[in-house]
Symmetry: D2
Subunit: 375 residues, 4 copies
Amino acid sequence: MSKKKLGIGLIGTGFMGKAHAFAYRSALAAFPDIPTPELRMVADVNAEGAAKAAQQYGFASSTGNWRDIIANPDIDVVSITTPNTFHKEMTLAAIAAGKHVHCEKPLSPTLADSEEMVKAAEAKKVITQVGFNYIKNPMLKLAREMIAAGELGEITGFRGIHAEDYMHDPEGLYTWRLDPVGGPGVVADLGSHIICMARFLLGKITHVNADIETIVKSRPKAVGSKERVPVLVDDIARLMVRFEGGFGGTLEANWVKTGRKMQLAFEVHGSKGSLYFTQERLNELQFYKAGGDGRTAGFTTIEAGPQHPPYGGFIVAAGHQLGFNDLKTIEMAEFLRGIAHGKAEGPDFREAYEIQKVVEAALASSRQAASRVTI
Amino acid sequence: MSKKKLGIGLIGTGFMGKAHAFAYRSALAAFPDIPTPELRMVADVNAEGAAKAAQQYGFASSTGNWRDIIANPDIDVVSITTPNTFHKEMTLAAIAAGKHVHCEKPLSPTLADSEEMVKAAEAKKVITQVGFNYIKNPMLKLAREMIAAGELGEITGFRGIHAEDYMHDPEGLYTWRLDPVGGPGVVADLGSHIICMARFLLGKITHVNADIETIVKSRPKAVGSKERVPVLVDDIARLMVRFEGGFGGTLEANWVKTGRKMQLAFEVHGSKGSLYFTQERLNELQFYKAGGDGRTAGFTTIEAGPQHPPYGGFIVAAGHQLGFNDLKTIEMAEFLRGIAHGKAEGPDFREAYEIQKVVEAALASSRQAASRVTI
Amino acid sequence: MSKKKLGIGLIGTGFMGKAHAFAYRSALAAFPDIPTPELRMVADVNAEGAAKAAQQYGFASSTGNWRDIIANPDIDVVSITTPNTFHKEMTLAAIAAGKHVHCEKPLSPTLADSEEMVKAAEAKKVITQVGFNYIKNPMLKLAREMIAAGELGEITGFRGIHAEDYMHDPEGLYTWRLDPVGGPGVVADLGSHIICMARFLLGKITHVNADIETIVKSRPKAVGSKERVPVLVDDIARLMVRFEGGFGGTLEANWVKTGRKMQLAFEVHGSKGSLYFTQERLNELQFYKAGGDGRTAGFTTIEAGPQHPPYGGFIVAAGHQLGFNDLKTIEMAEFLRGIAHGKAEGPDFREAYEIQKVVEAALASSRQAASRVTI
Amino acid sequence: MSKKKLGIGLIGTGFMGKAHAFAYRSALAAFPDIPTPELRMVADVNAEGAAKAAQQYGFASSTGNWRDIIANPDIDVVSITTPNTFHKEMTLAAIAAGKHVHCEKPLSPTLADSEEMVKAAEAKKVITQVGFNYIKNPMLKLAREMIAAGELGEITGFRGIHAEDYMHDPEGLYTWRLDPVGGPGVVADLGSHIICMARFLLGKITHVNADIETIVKSRPKAVGSKERVPVLVDDIARLMVRFEGGFGGTLEANWVKTGRKMQLAFEVHGSKGSLYFTQERLNELQFYKAGGDGRTAGFTTIEAGPQHPPYGGFIVAAGHQLGFNDLKTIEMAEFLRGIAHGKAEGPDFREAYEIQKVVEAALASSRQAASRVTI
C-alpha cells in the first residue's frame, strides 16, 4: 500500500534546486491525488546556503553534507540537482539507501555511468525520474495523443531543435560547464531535451548521422585575463535521424545561437496533418488538418486550457497560461504519483539511458564523418 | 517593527481561492525578503470542501463559517475570493478585527460600497490590496518604467482591450454572474482590468465617453428549459477616454468575443516610440524606438528574463516564462511586503475605488449618449 | 454592347499614378475577361515629367495639361491621382466629356463637393470608382462572404483601425497634406479606408460618437526654420459606431502611431465565430469557429491561395502572396469590367459619398462631445 | 553600346510563363534604367493557347512552334518556362542563335546537361539567368548585405528549409513531375531554392552529408484507377553542410510537409547577431543584435520599405508589401539590366550549375550513408 506522505530531501539549491522546491510546494494543490510531499531536508555544499534555502523554501532542516539526506530514515525521496559530475555518486548512495530518486539531466557524463545507475535502480526497485520537464507540458501531451491516435495520419517527418545562446559570446569565460569531465557539451546538455521530446512523441530513434562541432575554440580563463583555455566540448550538434516507425528527421542542439533564449521547437508532419510547437510560446500548439474546406484551411493556434490535462489542476479558465515552474510541478507530481503506484510515469533512468545512447551514437557518427561528400 | 511571520486566512476555495493558495505557498521562495506566510485557516460555505482544501493547499485548519477566520487572533491577513456580492460584509468584518485584507476584484457592486470599504480600511490603517494581478507582470513593470523614463517621448495615445468569450454563446445559461446585484456586467468584470492597466501605465483617466450594450438579451434558465431570463447587465463596453496627461485613448471590455480566451492587450504610442502587449503572450513586450537606423528599425520582441524584476526570483534564465499563477505570486508577495513596510504597494482599496469611478462614469455616459450623431 | 478596348488617360504620376500604371499594365493578364486597357495619354503639371512617365509606364502620349486628356476622343477612361483639392474640377470635366472616372480617395475635401460629383456622374450615367484598394484583397472578399453566409453567426461587434506613423514626428515639416483646404485630416485620409472596410464587411453605419484631436499643434515651416505653422487638421480620430444590423464597434484613424507602417486591421466577432485581419500580413485571415472539438479549437491562419478568387488570376499556387500593387490591379480590373457591364463593381462615387457622411458625422459628434463625462 | 529596346520571346504559358509575362510588363515602370522590353512572340505547344496568351499578355505574335522564336531576328531575349526536360534543347538552340536566355529552374535534369549549357552560353558570350526568384527579395538583399558587412559578427551556423505540401497526399496521382527523366525529385525542385539562398547569403558549400528518401512509394496512375505507379524520385532531402567560411548548417527540401504552402525559411547566426526569415512573410526580416541594452533586447521585425532597394521602385511608402510577382519583376529587370551592361547580375547558368553540384553531392552522400550509426 502506498504511503500518504513522502519525506523529501533536496540536494543542491541553484537554478534547478529552486525549481524543485517550487514544484514540491505546489504539487499537491494542483494534483490532489498524489502523496503529500513533506519537505524534510535540504543540502548544499555551503551549510549556510543550505540553512537559508531551508528557511526560504520551507524545508524542516538543512545540512552542508548531502550524505545526511541519504542517512535520514524520514526521507523517502531524493532530488539531485547538482552539476552532473556528482550525479552518479549521489544517486548510487540514495538507491543503496532504498530511496526513490529524481535526478536532473543529463543523467551522467558517460553512457557507462548511466548504465550503472539504471542497473542499480532497477535492482533496488526504486522509482526514478530524470528532469526532462519540457515534455510535461499539456501541449506536448496533446501532441503525443494526436500522433498516437492517427490524427496526423502516417508520420512522414520530424524537425526538431533546442537552441539557446548562453555560450554565443566568444569572449564569454571558460566555466565548469565546458569541462569535458562533465560530458560532451551541447549534444548532451540541450540535445538530450530534443532527443527526449522526439522519443516522447514518435518512439525510438534507430539511426543517427551527425555533424558536431566546437565553434569557440578557446575562451578567456578569467575576466581581464589574456590566458585562454582551449574548449574541448561541442557548441553545435546537427543530427539526421531515422525512427523506428520508418520515417526520418533532423535534430539540432545549439548553445551559440545568438538571440535565442528558448528555441526548443519541433515540426512533425504526417499524411493527414502537421503540428508545430516552440517552447518560446509554450501554451500554444499549431495544428494543420488536411482534407477539410480548403477555403478556410490553415494552421490552427490551439491555446492551452483545462481541456488539456493537467492544465486544469492549475487554472480553471483557458488562455491564462502555465509557466516553466508549472511544468516542473507537473513533473514532480508525476514522480510522486509514480512512487505511490509503484510504477514510474517517466522519463525514468532507463529512458535517460536510451537518450544518452543517441547522444553517444551521434558523437561516434560525427567522428567518422564518412558520408560527407566534398563538392 | 514588522512581524517575521504572518498568519493567513483564506475565504473561498474556487478559481481565485486556489490561485491565492498557490501564491502564498510560492511567495517566500521567490521573494526571500517578505514575511513568511503561514497558512492557518481556510473557509468555504461547504465545510467539507473547506476541509479538503485545507489538506490540499496546506492550511492548518478549516471552517464552514468565514467568521471563524475573522475571530481567529492568529490570523493577520485575510484573502477574500468569494463572489463580489459578499466582499463588503467580509471586508468590513476583517477590517474591524484589525486584519490586513486582500480582496478580489471588482471590489464591490457599487461605487458607494467601495467608498465605504476604503474609508473603513483607511480609518483602521490596515493594508489592503485588490486582485489586479495582470499588472504584476514584469513586462508591465518594464512598460511602465519605459513610459515614465520618457523612452516613448510624449505619450500620444492608448488603445486597450480586455476580451474573453465565456458569454459568447446565446444559449449559455443564465448564471449568478449575470445578476445585476453583483454589478453592472462586463464593464466592471473585465473592464476594471484594462482600466487598472491604463492607469498603472499612464495615470489618471479624467474623461469618459462610453457605449455599453447587452448583446444577449435573455438566456435559458436551465439546461433544457424553455424559460429564458432577461439579461440586465452588459456584454460589451466601449470607452473613449482622456488622460490627465492630455492625450486620449480607447478601452474595450467584451465577454462575448468568440474565440478570445485572454485578449488583455494594449498599444501605447508616443512621439519617440511605441509599445504593444497582449496577455496572450504574457512573457513578451513589443517595443518600437524611433530615430535609429531606418534600415533595421521595427518592433522588437522583448522576452522576459531576469533583467526584468522580479522574474529572476522565479527563474534565473531568460525565456523560460512565467505563468498566470506566478503573476498571482508576485501580487501576494507584494501585498505581504506592503504589510511588513506599513505601506501598500497596490493596487489598494483606494485604487480600486478610483477604477470603479471610471466604470460608473462610463455607465453614466452611455446612458445619455448625447454625442451620438445619427447618419 | 461593350467595347473590347478602352482608351486610358492618367492624370498624376506620383505614388498613386504609378500604382494605376502598374495596375493597367497587369490587369488583362490577370483578368482575361475584361476589356483591354490601352494606355493612351498621361498628364502631369510638369510636361517633362509627363513625358518621362509616358516612356516608363508605356503610355502612347503625354501632356502638361490635364485638359488634353479630357479633350481626347480616344480616351474612354480617366484615372485621377492628383491631390484631392483637384479632384472635383477634373472629375466634373471628365464626366461632362462622357468619360468613366476612377478617382483616388478621399473623393473631395467636403461632403457637398462629393455630392455634386455623385450627381454629375449619375446624371451622365458614367461608371465611377474610388481608390479604396484594400477591400479588393481576396482575404477581404472571403471575410465578407463568410459574414454574409452566416459563418460567424449573428454579428456582435467590430473593432477596426487604420494607423500609420508618417506624421508622428513633432518636428516633421508642415506640408500640403496638413492644409485644411484639402480636408479635415486623418479622419478623411486614413479613416475613410477603415470606414470603407467596415461598410464593405458589415453594411451601413448608422450612428457615430467620436473623439477627434490634433496631437502636433504646430510644425516647422521649413528645414532649419524657427517659424512654426499651426496645424488645423486632426491627427487621431476615435469613433464608436453602430451598424444597421444593430451591433456596435469602434474605428480609429491615426497617423501619429509611431512604428506602425500599415496597421489597417479589424476584428469582427459573432455568436459562432470571429475573424481577425491586418494589412501588415495581407495574405492571411484569422478565423475562429465555435462549437467544434474544444481540444483542437483555436484561430486558424488562412493563407491566400487560388481557392480565394481572384488570387488565382495572379498565381496558381497557394502561399506565394499578392502584394499591394496586385490589389490595385484587382481594383482597376473590376473598374474596367464594370464599364464593360455597364454597372460599377464599386466602391463608386456614391459609396465614397456615404463614407464621407460618416466622416462628417464623426466631426460633428466630436465638436459637441456632449456624452463626455468628467471623472 | 547597349540597345534601348530588347525584343522578348517567351516559351511556355503556364505558371511561370504567366509570371514572366507579368514581370516583363511591369519591369520598366519599376526600373526606369533598364532597356525597354518589347513583347514580340509567345510560344506554346498548343497554338491556340499561344494565341490566347499573346492577346492576354500583350505579345505581338504567337506560335505553336518554339523554334519560330529562335528563328526570329527581332527577338533578343528568350524566356524558357517549359518543364525541365525541354530546357537543354531549347536553351542550346537559343544560344546558338545568339540570344540571351532566361531559363526556369532547375536548369536541367542532370549535372552533365547543365555543364553543357554553361559551356555553350559562355562560349557564345550571351547573358543567362535562372529563375531563382526568391533571392530577389529586398529583404534577402538586406540580409546578404548585413552578413557581408559583419553585422552578425563571425557566422556560426545556418538552418534552412524549403517545404511545401503539394505531394503530401499518398493518393495524389502520379504526374510528370515524378518522372525521374526530369530529375531526382524534391532535392532539385525545392532543394535548389534553399541551396541557392544559402549560397547567396553565405558563399560556397564545400561539403554535404545527406539523407534523401521517398515517402510515398507508389501513386495511383489515374483517378479511380487501382493501378499504382512506383515513385522513383525523392520526397524529402535532409542535408548537413559545411560552408567555405568554415561554419556548418542544415538544409531541408520537402514536398510532403502537410499544411506548408511556402516554408522557404532560414535562420543564420553569428557571434554578434542573428537573422530569421520565412517566405511565408516575405516582407519581413527578423534581426537580433547582441550587446545592446539587455532590458530591451530581442528580435526586431524589420518591415520592407523604400529604404530597402529596390522596394521603392514599386511603392514609395513602407509596409505596403511586395508580392511574388514583384519578386519576379525584380528578377527579370536585373536580367535585362545585365544584358544592357554585358554582365549577368545572376544567378546565371554557372551559378545554377554550382547549385546542381550540391544536389548531386547530396544524392551521392545519401546513397553511401556511411556515417549513419545504428543505435
